[in-house]
């Protein structure tokens, strides 16, 4: 054990340093948090590259991806991701032979509407994350 004066000196110097330092916590969500390059957030699917092979749906460990038939789509159809099942392992991107699935930096996906958690990139599909769907637009369950 250190002698008392040395202990006091340590304590006081730590205290003074702490007084003039910024807090270590970030006040999220008032302050936005920057995520690094390559963060595994919400997906984006490039349907021009997708060949509809269905490997992403087959390899998804939680069965979050289903292939939906779509007029004009190749193979088994178009992958639709259910984000409420997704564990963000990105095995789908790993399995994709064309590199059509890529991560984005978006991480604040929580929603009170389950429709917001369906990621569907078909041209006519309802887009998640833009508030409520306008009436008349097709919704995906």
């Amino acid at each position: 054990m250190k002698p008392l004066p040395a202990l006091l000196k340590d304590t006081i110097s730590t205290l003074i340093r702490a007084l003039f330092k910024k807090p270590a916590t970030v006040l999220y969500p008032k302050v936005s948090v920057e995520v690094p390059e390559g963060f595994r957030g919400q997906h984006t699917i490039d349907l021009k590259k997708c060949v509809g092979c269905g490997l992403c749906a087959r390899d998804c460990p939680t069965g979050a991806i289903i292939m939906v038939r779509e007029p004009g789509a190749r193979g088994l159809g178009v992958p639709v991701i259910n984000l409420s099942k997704c564990i963000f392992c990105y095995q789908c991107a790993e399995s994709c032979p064309k590199g059509a699935i890529r991560p984005t930096k978006r991480f604040d996906m929580a929603s009170d509407d389950p429709h917001h958690l369906v990621l569907d990139f078909r041209p006519m599909a309802y887009r998640p994350g833009r508030g409520r769907a306008p009436s008349g637009e097709q919704e995906q369950g």
Binding site: P36, P61, T62, F88, C89, Y90, E94, P103
Partner: protein, 512 residues
Amino acid sequence: MKALKAAFPELRLSGLTGMDLGERLALLYHLRLDGPLLTLYMEVPKEDPVVVDSITRIIPGADLHEREVYDMLGVIFRSHPDLRRLLLPDDAPKDYHPLRSEIDARILRSIETEEKLGPVITGESGPYLELVIGPQHPALHEPERFVFKVDGEVVVGVDIRIGYAHRGIEEAAERRTYIHDLYLCERVCGICNVAHSLCYCLTVESLLGLEVPRRAQFLRVVAAELNRLHSHMLLLGVAAEEMGFSTLFMYIWRDREAVMDVMELLTGNRVISSFNRIGGVSRDVSPSLAEKMLARLRPLRGRLEHYLEVFESDPTVLARTKDIGILSHRDAVELCATGPTLRASGVCFDVRDKDPYAAYGELSSLEPVVRKECDSWARFLARIQECLVSLDLIEEALERLPGGPVRVRAPRRVRPGEAICTVEAPRGELLYYIRSNGTDKPARLKIRTPTFSNLAPLRKMLDGVYLADVPVTLASIDPCFSCTDRAVIVDVNTGARWSCYIDELARRARRT
């Protein structure tokens, strides 16, 4: 077995795998001496009942391993001192052993079981109180129950009951493909997820006979060591909190953020890394990213050295940990402790050093941390020193990163065979055993986590400590389960029951 133990007194049981082969049951005794794993294979015909000689008398650490196999496969171990259920509830139907192939889980619905609370009161009269702690605890993640036999303030015996968070992962893995299982195994434990996914990948790769690129092996070391840093710092913070030293807890956890950030830079997520893939790793590291990671980790060394000094000299820490929870060298070997718990009792055994995997064999900065004090204090100090070694390893691995690809393609189907791999997870040796039958799904996957091995030594450590020291002693093995929330104290003589909360215990700990 007796002859082996007589010839090699340092022999430890790493794990015991039971398997149902249809007509016969197979038992695999994974033994560790001072190098690669040695496995004894034994087959027994499936009679009723299946009886095998217990080895608990020879290797006391086999106790819980044998109880697990009894529970899961119904193998009766002759002359086992205490053959009870371990993972299944006490009121599970007799002869219900879920890993037997003829057992169908649906029968559980039709069987009425009598409700009974486990052995809270043993009926044994005497000067002892039985203190039941658990199974629920809101602060930690997994429920567990301890029955302490206390004489005044001193613990004289402890019974540990686990299985409250049993998720049947081994069985679930048999129904999924090898690719799906990777992510299942990664989620066995959130904190040491890299160790689990790494061990799983190594096992599958050795089944496939796959050569992993050297660059991937170095990157695996980086991820595994970041994981160790994160896990150790988490534990040290929790330990400080249990001692009543909340400031230290907050400081350590603040500095741990740097490790989480680097993990995020490397793998794309703070905790669940999904970095290891069968055949390599998921992404490459550019030189600028490596530089950024090293820069973020640089201040950490000074901080860790400071914490080492704090743990070595602070009166609170010393009073709570020094000479408390003693696990002697002999007991550590007998009871088959593993990881820092084993090394803090003076046994120089680290899987990274003695049975190297990934790129550990090539890295010169790997120094196993061995301490001779055998108490809780030594176990905490060993972890801080291991953190410093981890930093060295990360730096060396990133500097010496060889070129080349980071992944090779792996076939989906795995040829028939079996493989065992061990890695040094933050809490100790982690063992995976996979048996493949030529399809794309494993026929048997066995996981032996380090905490399971450390439970038997924990019972020894808790013997003779004051009740107030129990939380810190529990934390000193870095248990991967929750332990202590609600305590029901039963006075055996009067039968009176009263409850107290662990906070109260901890408050009392601070006062004394």
